[in-house]
């Protein structure tokens, strides 16, 4: 469901020049040239491309967040597929890296300097590991329940946002304390929060009533009037940051090409719930899936859609991932049927493990 990947200091992101990347680059420059050597950032980008001091660091690991095994109780331990699992890209076996008995709604990664962090948006709070998943700590307390999505500031590691059924909460002290940030919201249920790729103080929140935007670090929110209730997922196009795609509860995909000024429905898709949207890294292909929908693909920025796969045994698709290094490789996470993947852009699919699990998010390790 949460197809957003965090901002991170990687070559892949630095190639896409935006305000956030500018800040990252400026910080990097300051480290390289502490006496204030001036250089145009664009030139620095080229330097990265050719010298590649930060080589593309997408490892071959795929990480999934799994809500719970559909056949077991939700009150006791012992469920086989609960938590977060990883595997190498070409391997078959999934390994748990999180606490078991953790209802995982989403995962996120961040890197600040040498510190790499994994976050799990979990039913019992926000979990964080700073040692590659060896140990975890719950950062939130009882007031911040059922964390559905997490976004960490790409520059300031102490700033973290979470979306919960009780609204947006923000921490500015590395998760020690949390403050509700809902000024401007009409209702409190929030499914997802993402940070704009261009500006780290601009955020988007998927609520039950509308898509909201904040331009001041979640202090104030304004509705973007998508025109359909029940925001389920938000995706900012990886190549054109003015394009946003929204999965809704009953009105399939809504898309804006002008940074939220106007919205239209995706053409070709029947009215249904869309829980997951993900784009190839060049943005040319966008995939979507949801409740009894199968998998749909758009090749025109989400304006028109074609169904490319349906399987009667799969009731819902919760998550999607297009391999950033191989656009032929597409994965879907299902409700209760684990993971399916395709190596030919969705023409043929095979079951890829975790059968029985609700897979809420699939992501590549960014480091």
């Amino acid at each position: 469901m949460k197809s957003h990947t965090d901002q991170k200091l990687t070559l892949k992101n630095l190639l896409v020049i935006g305000d956030t990347e500018m800040e990252l680059a400026q910080k990097f420059i300051k480290k390289l040239f502490p006496r204030g050597f001036l250089i145009r950032v664009e030139y620095l980008m080229l330097l990265f491309i050719f010298a590649s001091p930060l080589t593309a660091r997408q490892s071959g690991k795929i990480c999934v967040a799994v809500l719970f095994n559909s056949t077991k109780s939700n009150v006791a331990s012992g469920d086989r597929y609960v938590g977060v699992f990883v595997r190498e890209k070409d391997e078959a076996e999934w390994q748990s890296i999180s606490n078991t008995n953790l209802f995982a709604f989403g995962i996120s990664f961040s890197q600040h300097g040498a510190t790499q962090r994994y976050y799990i948006a979990g039913g019992n709070g926000l979990h964080r590991s700073s040692d590659g998943g060896k140990s975890w700590k719950i950062l939130t307390s009882w007031q911040t329940m059922e964390v559905l999505s997490v976004a960490s500031d790409p520059v300031d590691s102490t700033v973290i946002y979470v979306a919960t059924p009780y609204g947006i909460f923000k921490s500015t002290d590395d998760g020690t304390s949390w403050t509700e940030k809902m000024r401007g919201f009409k209702t409190w249920y929030t499914d997802e929060v993402i940070i704009d790729r261009r500006d780290r103080r601009t955020l988007y929140a998927a609520t039950e009533e509308d898509l909201y935007r904040s331009t001041d670090g979640a202090e104030n929110w304004s509705p973007l009037k998508v025109g359909a209730p029940g925001m389920r997922t938000i995706v900012q196009h990886p190549a054109n940051f003015n394009i946003f795609l929204i999965g809704t509860e009953d009105h399939d995909v809504r898309v804006t090409l002008d940074n939220g000024k106007s919205w239209k429905a995706g053409v070709g898709m029947p009215a249904t719930a869309i829980y997951a949207i993900h784009a190839s890294s060049d943005g040319k292909e966008i995939y979507a899936g949801g409740f009894r929908s199968g998998v749909w693909r758009s090749e025109d920025m989400g304006q028109t859609w074609q169904q490319i796969w349906t399987a009667p045994e799969i009731e819902a698709i919760y998550s999607l991932l297009v391999d950033p290094a191989d656009a032929n490789h597409v994965m879907v996470g299902t409700n209760g049927k684990g993971i399916y993947e395709s190596y030919d852009k969705g023409k043929t699919w095979k079951q890829a493990g975790l059968d029985g699990a609700h897979v809420k998010q699939i992501a590549f390790y960014p480091f």
């Binding site: 809500l67 559909s70 056949t71 109780s73 939700n74 009150v75 006791a76 331990s77 012992g78 606490n99 078991t100 008995n101 953790l102 209802f103 709604f105 039913g123 019992n124 709070g125 979990h127 140990s135 975890w136 700590k137 719950i138 307390s141 009882w142 059922e146 559905l148 059924p165 009780y166 209702t187 409190w188 249920y189 499914d191 039950e208 389920r232 509860e249 719930a273 829980y275 409740f291 009731e315 819902a316 919760y318 409700n335």
Partner: protein, 606 residues
């Protein structure tokens, strides 16, 4: 030689203990006027003989000295089994540990400590889950202070865990005292609130928390007592399982009533009135706790010498979407007599999945001593009001845990298409089922254990259950479906209503006289299909007029739910939001003041 003598003495002592227990077991159910201490001993004696591997049975065995090696082995196994955890484990383990700490070998001390590092104490997502989880966490963090996050399952230090657990317990206690519970008056889930408060009361080192736990125990038992009748938990319930709804004396709450109120006179493990859904030995913590129920609460629970009206307000559990309020109010109305209790919630969705909106429960030696109706409703949207998962798949998910959620024949349900209006022993229930609702019928539970069930030509259905007489009237045609324990009354009209009035042998004399009186009763419902309104003149002459989605008029005056107090009846008084509960029995009062964390007792000498 010395050790041989010691061994012989120990064996002799054990034999005496076992003999005593056997005698206690033999002194069986017959002693209906037993004291609390006798019931404590009896419970421990019976529980200690059970083979089940759980913390309560282990506690009973260790406390009575019966099968001690077996109990230690069970406890050891529970600390090693990685497949178990969760909130039941979190509070049960620390309870068993603290009650039996001095009896455990060092190796078990270490294993139990390690369990709070290695077991996954998931917090869950309901009020009862959180009470168990945070009580367990509070006492565990208190027991093993000054340890860093690496020693705890959640990565937080002892101090962080203690602070979080303490803060939530304080929040919950204040919320309950001012607005009521979300999982209120639940015959099933009562067992998940009382035992955590018992161990908190017994082992919290902070005297304020200890006092709060004592006050919460008083509060929970007083809340139960005012709606208690001979072991039954009367009135509407937030959450209950179907089997406990259709056979109330098999519910878990009955086991606590037996231990603390001394009713019913049938022992909890007896299957004379049906087999319980779960073994539920949680009462063992009551048998070993130092908490003592104030006599005034027992008196409130058992004195049914005069009928009374008792009202309450509770709260809906957290509404996360599709609602304007996070915790809307729930209004309860209960009419209590010595023979029956008639109680209702106002209707609508007040709790997902397991709501029991109304029933009449009567004193009986037979099982299935209750009668009620419902609309079996389910929807993903209802669940999505309370759970964050995708609404279109939620119904199936809930069905996996609560196997009857989508069942058209289920006996527990909240429905947005059901509303009630009660005045003393008379009740009107109206249904206006949406054409798109999954199930389009209304069901009624009529137990086969009724002495009589008569369909009268006047349209009334008359039932006799011992000394209780029930008059049941419906506006539309219906059918009877025979089932194992009951006749299922079923109406297929989406717009329909039910009028129920209860009487007793003491009120009417013979059952025939009761029937005669109701044959003349006025139920005006002729235009119900167009105005969804019914007007009924009860036997006491009071006119009840009720419009679905509209007003409830009593002799022309609207009923004002907004004026409802937290508790209002002859025994319990609490202004909404006050945090003060006053109990009254004859010339004695006991006041729980949650603002000052104080208990005040008064006896007026006349």
């Amino acid at each position: 030689m010395l050790s041989q003598q010691l061994f012989s003495k120990t064996v002799f002592r054990c034999k005496i203990q076992v003999l005593t227990l056997i005698l206690l077991v033999m002194a069986s159910a017959a002693c209906s006027q037993s004291t609390f201490e006798e019931r404590q001993d009896r419970l421990l004696a019976v529980a200690s003989q059970q083979p089940y591997k759980d913390f309560l049975i282990i506690t009973a065995k260790l406390r009575t000295g019966v099968e001690v090696p077996s109990a230690l082995s069970m406890l050891d196994s529970l600390t090693r089994d990685e497949s178990i955890g969760g909130m039941f484990y979190a509070y049960g383990l620390i309870g068993a540990y603290l009650y039996n700490r001095d009896l455990l070998p060092d190796s078990l001390h270490r294993k139990i400590r390690r369990s709070y590092s290695e077991r996954k104490m998931v917090r869950g997502d309901t009020e009862n889950h959180w009470v168990m989880y945070y009580t367990g966490l509070y006492l565990a963090a208190q027991t093993w202070p000054n340890e860093d996050g690496a020693q705890w399952f959640n990565g937080k230090s002892s101090a962080e865990n203690f602070k979080e657990a303490e803060a939530w317990l304080n929040f919950w206690i204040k919320l309950t005292a001012t607005k009521g519970q979300g999982e209120f008056d639940s015959p099933t889930y009562f067992i998940t609130f009382v035992p955590p408060m018992l161990i908190l009361h017994d082992f919290a080192q902070d005297p304020v928390m200890k006092k709060k736990a004592q006050m919460m125990l008083d509060y929970l038992f007083a809340d139960f007592a005012a709606e208690h009748l001979a072991g039954n938990y009367g009135g509407g319930h937030s959450r209950d399982y179907p089997q406990d709804i259709i056979n109330p004396l098999t519910a878990h709450s009955t086991k606590w009533a037996w231990l603390y109120f001394g009713e019913p006179d049938v022992e909890p493990w007896s299957e004379a009135r049906g087999k319980s859904r779960h073994r539920a030995w949680e009462t063992v913590f009551g048998a070993v706790s130092s908490y003592r129920l104030p006599e005034i609460i027992r008196q409130i629970a058992t004195d049914r010498s005069a009928p009374y009206v008792h009202t309450e307000t509770k709260r809906v559990r957290n509404v996360i979407r599709f609602g304007e309020q996070k915790n809307p109010r729930v209004y309860k109305y209960t009419y209590m007599t010595s023979d029956y209790v008639l109680g209702s919630l106002q209707g609508g969705i007040l709790q997902p999945i397991q709501q029991h909106t109304w029933d009449v429960t009567f004193v009986s030696d037979k099982p299935n001593n209750t009668l009620f109706t419902l609309h079996p409703f389910y929807s993903g949207k209802e669940l999505a009001m309370f759970f964050p998962e995708e609404q279109k798949v939620l119904s199936d998910e809930v069905n996996r845990f609560h196997l009857v959620y989508t069942d058209p024949n289920k006996w527990n349900s909240s429905s947005p298409y059901e509303q009630t209006f009660q005045h003393k022993n008379a009740l009107i229930v109206l249904y206006n089922i949406d054409k798109d609702a999954k199930h389009q019928h209304i069901d009624g539970f009529f137990p086969k254990t009724l002495d009589e069930r008569v369909e009268d030509s006047s349209g009334w259905i008359f039932c006799k259950a011992g000394k209780t007489y029930i008059a049941f009237f419906t506006f539309k045609k219906y059918e009877w479906i025979e089932e194992e324990a009951n006749w299922r009354w079923r109406s297929h009209d989406r717009q329909n209503g039910v009028v129920v009035e209860i009487g007793t042998e003491a009120d009417y004399g013979a059952f025939d006289e009761f029937k005669k009186r109701f044959q003349q009763a006025k139920v005006e419902h002729q235009n119900f299909d167009t105005n969804l309104t019914v007007k009924y003149t009860a036997q006491d002459g009071v006119v009840m007029q009720f419009t679905y989605g509209g007003q409830r008029l009593l002799n022309g005056k609207p009923v004002d739910f907004a004026s409802y107090k937290s508790f209002n009846g002859p025994f319990l008084q609490s202004e909404a939001g006050s945090g003060v509960l006053k109990m009254t029995y004859k010339n004695h009062t006991r006041i729980l003041d949650f603002n000052r964390i104080a208990i005040e007792e008064k006896t007026n000498r006349k």
